[in-house]
Subunit: 289 residues, 4 copies
């Protein structure tokens, strides 16, 4: 999540708990005399499942990425029947941001890219409205206006998929994008598609959630960021946070507070993903942080 | 909420916003040369409603409580059409705790009474199980075992109401009391009956909420304390809080963390009520804290 | 703090507690048939001091700002011996941001201006380094490179003071500005000059605070925003917050987390000031929020 | 930290990072066909140091504790040059609480023992004042009044040491014990002696910290729990937390809030120690939670 992560390679791996699996992972590096700069694991003893994250600096692992991936597959992943993910390092994660009119979340993500605060760059902004085109231009980022209505949704999503491919996008972030995305986009970007939404205690479904929260006199407002799945707003949770509020706060103040909270929670979730610290297993996330 | 509150008198008052109301409240004291030690107000400009809390030390207000209440009614409350509540000070709030088997919440409330940390004493413990009778005995507090099933619920609630009257109870606290109380108890103890329950983001209704929260991989668990109304767990919220958790926490660890959080949130809510800092208006609380 | 605040006029006032003061403030509006949209007060009964904040929409107060200010002075402020501050509303607060090389805080403040999230605009960026000039240009904001060393500090501060005057700056924000400002700037911008810094438990003075915090194994890192006074980092605190961390966090991760926290805390402090919600009395802030 | 921990055995181990260490630890169990119910590790790659925690249910490890310890020493600990700690499980941790007059912390610890919320029991209460003797009696816990002044401190600490031995105390908790303990007690209870104290941002050394915090207008108050070392209040930190406060809080309200926070932070720290989740390395704690 820090600049220091920029050039790191990462393997995330999971498999049923079995003898020797942790040793096998680290030995794939050590037996060749290569150093790793991070190793973290989690064992779910109840479900008897094993999860690990290895991090290395490509400069200190003198094998090209394809060969390294092949070696790991043969020597470790295939042997233990792993599900795994490989990130060679050495390049920045390519982000597409989907927006409607809300500027705060977009700016925060752009700032982190431009300032080099994380190992990612925003390469594409897609919006169903034209409003934020000028901001995209200010930052020199490609902007596509993709208006969507019931008659053209399928065609537009197909076009969006093509755009994501053309820009070689690694991760899609829905930053207050006021459209429901369908399995057409979700499936190819499974666990690479992040959304943010408000979260209240109790939940206030329906319109004007902050007005409802105000009327009910809640003492906390919250935000949740998650991977998008076909179940609306019920995908694996990456990060959540809340802020204390009191009866003195007007609805516009709650909206303001909620926006800040959403911005922070979304940045945290995207940062964790970009640093390859998130694994999804049976609908829940394992966060190596 | 502090020992220093022990002997304070308090008026809580609310009325439609109108000219001179704040001045009238404080003048009722000042024109007689009496000092007040706290004055706090809140104006809801959207609904044009006014709320205030006055706090005084009975020693410095040389009029007996009944006369003071009558004077305030005549000079202020009736003039402005107020809803109001009067607490003469000078004595401790009398609490009844309803429990089933959970000990943590009960102990925390007993400790605060015994240590004199707030201006309240536990005068009665009611339980639908016998388990905590020995603890009641340890602290010398009256204990009544009131088993409830579908055949005797109405009769037992009537008896509980009598018990509350006999012990001159001011406030009833449901401290993990595993029974739904009906309007028979709610109505006479309207906004004097406090409950605590877990609160998750998203909400997990039904059985085993911590197991559900664990399976969903939530990053926060929470607790909410509220006044009991006829809408189950939907009464006016007094206090809420959350704790961060991660995937490493087992279900028993989540339950443990949740119990601590509930204990803290309940103590905070009861403390606010005992210090006469809570007013309910149209289903939401105004907290003068 | 919200867009809805944009056009509001605000009076902040304080004086020794005395009879009729609250009524006098609101009557100055009501007796003319003018409406106010917010009134909040705080009485420090221990020090017997009174504080209030009035908020109105200029459109609903049909007197020009100068006349209103004169009327309030004559009818209220002079009568009660108040210290007070008057904000006519109807225009945006003009901000100058002092930076060195850190981009995150600057971007967040720029975003809030551009998105219209608060009633303020960044009109000037001053830096002792050239690095952020390109960013200033991107946003079309005046940028002045003001290198400072021991030989030119006095002259440069005089020049900065002129610049602030030329740009009619209302509030100066030090956003990781790596220079100590002297009374030359502090005095004319008393309580209009905000700084942000990290805050640890325990405190780690000296260089590399995050390294020290890591070595000590702290479980929390924090940030504090305050008005700058001649006592370094000891001015009146406006806002503070902390984040939980654990032993797994590397120093770069702590730095990253600290930067986010500082950005949030600074934005909150500036937002409170811009909405005229902060009053300073005897070295501490009263926050009408 | 949960009841489920009651009977668990735990090994905490640390050594310079070296090949095969993680495998060796788990193999000591697996090669005998024994199951473990928890394995957690942390690698400090910067310092190249390895830390692990193993947890097992004694019933599922059919070797007596002494033999198991000997086997682990021979097969693992001696081989890798480990520093390590062995907890056989199957019995409750024996606590001594040192108090002066503050009741809240003591009650919370007693409640957790009595309710069986953690795997510990309070076996001894020591105080330099007589006040809490009646409470000790209420709970049937041994109480020793040990008044201390400059003339008898050495002798009294020697006697305390004997008492701790007689009661076979595993962990000493200073629960607002208003005496400085010397190396006479610290040395034999190194990292088995926990203290709690308030923690402010900035720090307010000296008397009446809450008054100082109030005068300075802090927006947060905090508490820190740590192992006692010869450096006053500078031992390895186990847990910390803060609460938001505002200018409306009086000094007694801050004291109240601080007491609650201290109670929670102390319980958390003691709970982590009791569950054998804390390791100290070079002055900082590694928390396996």
């Amino acid at each position: 999540m820090s600049v220091a992560d920029s050039s790191k390679g990462v393997i995330l791996a999971a498999c049923p708990l079995q003898k020797g699996v942790a040793a096998a992972i680290t030995q794939a590096f050590y037996r060749r005399g290569w150093d790793i700069c991070g190793y973290d694991q989690y064992v779910d003893h109840e479900k008897r499942h094993f999860f690990a994250r290895v991090e290395w600096e490509p400069d200190r692992v003198p094998m090209n990425a394809d060969d390294l991936q092949a070696a790991f597959r043969k020597e470790v992943a295939d042997v233990f029947g792993m599900q795994w993910s490989f990130w060679p390092g050495g390049r920045r994660v390519r982000l597409a941001i989907f927006v409607t009119t809300e500027m705060a979340h977009l700016y925060d993500l752009l700032m982190r890219s431009i300032a080099g605060l994380w190992n990612a760059e925003v390469v594409l902004i897609v919006s169903n409205k034209e409003d934020l085109g000028a901001e995209a231009q200010r930052f020199g980022v490609a902007f596509r206006h993709m208006p969507i209505d019931s008659s053209n949704k399928a065609a537009q999503e197909e076009r969006e998929l093509e755009l994501l491919g053309e820009h070689r996008v690694d991760l899609v972030v829905l930053a207050r994008y006021m459209q429901i995305v369908t399995t057409r986009l979700i499936e190819p970007y499974r666990y690479r598609l992040i959304n943010i939404h408000h979260s209240m205690l109790p939940a206030f479904p329906g319109a004007r959630p902050y007005q409802q929260a105000h009327d009910r006199g809640v003492k906390l407002i919250g935000a949740t960021s998650h991977y998008v799945t076909e179940d609306l707003d019920a995908g694996p949770i990456i990060w959540q946070d809340v802020a204390h509020v009191d009866h003195r706060k007007t609805v516009p103040q709650l909206v303001e507070r909620g926006r800040d909270l959403e911005t922070q929670v979304l940045a945290r979730a995207v940062g964790l993903h970009v640093a390859r610290r998130v694994w999804v297993h049976e609908g829940r996330t394992i966060i190596f942080d």
